[in-house]
């Protein structure tokens, strides 16, 4: 996997003249930056801005760089930034394999093999033709992570990805996700309410007011 680096240089978000977020940081490959703060502090808007979905009502300035390259002008689908939400958001009309295939680049060869290997790795071997609605919460989260990794992103944004899970499962999934992201050498930004998430991420923590 490629070694990449995510930089936010003087990124500033404001809404109706009021500044919400000002941030200047850089996340190296395999590092996890945790962003914490109360609701309405602009955490999610920050992720939306990086991923390319920011509502035009916001004013944004500053530069987002991946490997030194400004991605600000690119449409969301060309930014190569993976997203995990609180809900796993597996497409309900596609099978598990369909969901994973959706993430693979069109020109990718032996897709089926990649998919079955990936499923084996997360302990869901043979789940290709299953309906996503039949999976347990933990299984769904793992498929969502695998889907993200198969799209070969250059950076990852996590928007409270574990808050839906109960505490036992949360620890297990969290470890799995962080390990995988580190192994893949992906710079990651995590937005969370939960101090335990920040501790497990073991990286820099930013508090937004």
């Amino acid at each position: 996997m490629s070694q990449s680096r995510l930089e936010l240089s003087d990124v500033k978000l404001s809404l109706n003249g009021k500044t919400l977020v000002e941030i200047n940081c850089s996340v190296n490959a395999g590092e996890i930056l945790t962003v914490m703060g109360p609701s309405g502090s602009g955490k999610s808007s920050l992720l939306a801005h990086i991923a390319g979905f920011l509502d035009p009502a916001f004013n944004a300035s500053g530069v987002v760089l991946i490997n030194g390259e400004d991605i600000g002008g690119l449409p969301a689908e060309q930014r190569k930034i993976g997203l995990l939400f609180q809900d796993p958001l597996l497409f309900p009309h596609l099978s598990i394999a369909g969901n994973l295939r959706f993430a693979l680049p069109a020109q990718q060869s032996n897709k089926n093999h990649l998919i079955s290997e990936g499923l084996k790795e997360i302990g869901l071997a043979g789940f290709e033709h299953r309906d996503p609605a039949t999976l347990s919460g933990g299984q769904e989260s793992r498929v969502a992570l695998l889907r993200l990794l198969l799209s070969s992103p250059k950076a990852v944004l996590l928007d409270e990805p574990f808050s839906r899970l109960d505490s036992q499962l949360r620890r297990e999934i969290r470890t799995q996700v962080f390990d995988k992201l580190r192994d893949a050498g992906l710079p990651t930004i995590l937005v969370t309410h939960d101090q335990a998430d920040a501790d497990a991420a073991a990286g820099e923590v930013l508090y937004l007011a």
Binding site: P75, E77, G82, L83, L89, F91, P92, A103, P105, S151
Partner: protein, 559 residues
């Protein structure tokens, strides 16, 4: 491309309507160059005032315009108040779309066959209960005050308002409101009327206004059920437009403008009524009454909807019996002999209109759907918040058809757009577009934006994420919108007749043409075909997602 669709929708919803109305209005002030009248004058209005029975025509139109929405609204509200969450409620909810798809003309024929002196109801009590050996000499259908017309309109508009209410209800979370009111000691029906009704009404106000305009200006229903001595204003306008004495055009134009004024007056009267109702409701609310009249409202509410259903079911049975009856003299309840002859002998004549009906309704609906989706997608990508003002969508429903369609014909003629199928499709598009927009826009706007975000984060282009994610997720509402659009198109009479110059025959124009000279059996055959087409559409719309997503439990919750 998307921007183009967006402006096309606005264009289609306004220009033909406003221009059509304006052009139709010129002769009302004496301007009609091809009849040699190049100066403005008020003589058409003087003629109009002197038309015998014009006051009665106006009164019947006004009566229909006020009573229809009033009764329909009361029935719908009392039903919702008394049946929410019950088995009846679930059952009715399932039936409401197919009921709505019952074309006006077919419903009117069925009702006429049900309530006429020689109809099914009269046969049911004859000769045993009534002693009638021959049909009684009673003026029921075509009565002078339009009571049977009112009945026909109410039966058709109740499902419409019910569907609109059901669509709006989730926005105001009625269950929670009722819980709070009940915890304060209010009986359930009273609670619904006090805390849900006043918030629901503003959400369905535009549909109610559309009902007012439709009831005041309907042509096909009035032709079948309405009074004949004199007929309603809308029917008279049509006959004046078609009069061989060409000078009647002036009168027709003035009457068309009068029709517009009547619809407007009815709307104004309704708005006053609203104020009055609001006042009474305040008074009632302040009284703090918690349970009195509960059982009264409850029993009306529980009976209302089944009665409407019973009338519709009875009409359907009457149509089916007539379509297969060989010999059926009064007072036999059922035909004494049956035949398929009405069907076999009509089969060949059915094919061409059937093909036309399908081609026109599919083309108009698919075009409308493409425009609607493109507009919604434009809105979404530009993050425009519902810029398409809702009243714009209702414009084609708020201007009486008889008023602007004649102008559209003249307009099309003047650019030499000859009457043919494409012109009819264009005309249908004007009416199909609002319904497709109304039924598809909410599910489209409400679809969780994160689905698209996840898709593009996974590297899918807008094109891929639209076709592979948004459309499949919205398949069910999309098919429903198509079924509604096609049902509307199938039921359109006046636009097909006027824009197609009669060359383009559909099931509906053929059925209405038979009113003037078909046997009851033939009318029944055509009406049955007319009403089964939209039914088939709705069944397909229900069946395809079930089949496609039979292994996808998650698709049952997505909307």
């Amino acid at each position: 491309m998307l921007r183009f669709a967006y402006y096309s929708v606005i264009f289609l919803l306004t220009v033909p309507l406003l221009f059509g109305t304006a052009i139709a209005a010129l002769p009302a002030f004496g301007y009609f160059p091809s009849l040699g009248s190049n100066e403005f004058s008020l003589f058409p209005w003087r003629d109009l005032i002197e038309v015998p029975g014009i006051t009665q025509s106006i009164m019947v139109s006004l009566l229909a315009a006020i009573v229809t929405p009033l009764v329909a609204l009361v029935l719908v509200f009392l039903f919702l108040a008394s049946a929410s969450g019950s088995k009846l409620d679930v059952w009715i909810r399932r039936l409401v779309s197919p009921l709505l798809s019952f074309p006006h003309a077919a419903a009117a024929f069925g009702l006429a066959f049900l309530i006429a002196p020689s109809g099914l109801l009269s046969r049911l009590i004859s000769p045993g209960l009534s002693g009638w050996e021959r049909p009684p000499d009673l003026l029921i259908v075509n009565d002078s005050w339009g009571l049977s017309l009112l009945l026909g309109l109410i039966v058709k508009e109740v499902p419409f308002l019910l569907l609109m209410s059901l669509a709006a209800l989730p926005q105001i979370n009625p269950a929670q409101r009722i819980k709070i009111a009940r915890s304060l000691g209010y009986a359930p029906v009273i609670a619904w009327l006090k805390v849900v009704a006043p918030c629901l009404y503003p959400l369905i106000r535009l549909p109610v206004l559309a009902v007012i305009v439709f009831a005041s200006a309907t042509v096909d229903v009035a032709l079948i059920l309405g009074p004949t001595l004199p007929p309603t204003l809308s029917v008279r306008i049509l006959s004046w437009f078609n009069d061989p004495d060409l000078s009647y055009r002036f009168l027709a134009a003035a009457a068309a403008l009068l029709q517009l004024l009547i619809s407007l007056a009815a709307v104004c009267a309704w708005l006053l009524l609203e104020k009055l109702a609001m006042l009474l409701w305040r008074f009632w609310l302040d009284s703090g009454n918690r349970a009195s009249a509960e059982s009264f409202f409850y029993s009306i509410g529980r009976c209302a909807m089944p009665s409407v259903l019973l009338v519709i079911a009875g009409s359907l049975v009457a149509l089916l019996l007539n379509a297969f009856a060989a010999s059926w003299r009064f007072p036999s309840l059922l035909p004494t002999s049956w035949t398929l002859r009405h069907w076999t002998s009509t089969w060949n004549e059915l094919l061409a209109p059937l093909a036309n009906t399908l081609v026109i309704s599919i083309s108009a609906t698919v075009t409308a759907l493409i425009l609607v989706v493109a507009t919604l997608e434009f809105e979404r990508r530009r993050r425009i918040k519902k810029t398409t003002a809702l009243w714009l969508l209702y414009l084609p429903l708020l201007i009486p058809q008889v008023v602007f369609l004649f102008g559209v014909v003249v307009l099309a003629e003047s650019v030499h757009w000859q009457a043919n199928r494409s012109l009819v499709i264009f005309g249908h598009l004007l009416f199909v577009l609002p319904y497709v927009f109304l039924s598809f826009s909410e599910p489209y706007r409400q679809l969780d934006p994160r689905w698209s975000q996840v898709a593009s984060a996974l590297g899918a282009s807008s094109f891929k994420s639209f076709w592979r994610i948004r459309i499949p997720l919205l398949l069910s509402p999309c098919l429903t919108a198509i079924a509604i659009g096609m049902a509307i198109s199938i039921s359109l009479f006046l636009p097909t007749q006027l824009l197609g110059a009669g060359r383009i025959t559909t099931i509906t124009t053929e059925a209405v043409a038979l009113t003037s000279a078909g046997s009851r059996n033939l009318i029944a055959v055509w009406a049955v075909v007319q009403l089964s087409l939209p039914m088939l559409g709705f069944m397909t719309a229900l069946f395809i997602p079930k089949l496609l997503w039979r292994d996808r439990a998650g698709m049952r919750e997505i909307r």
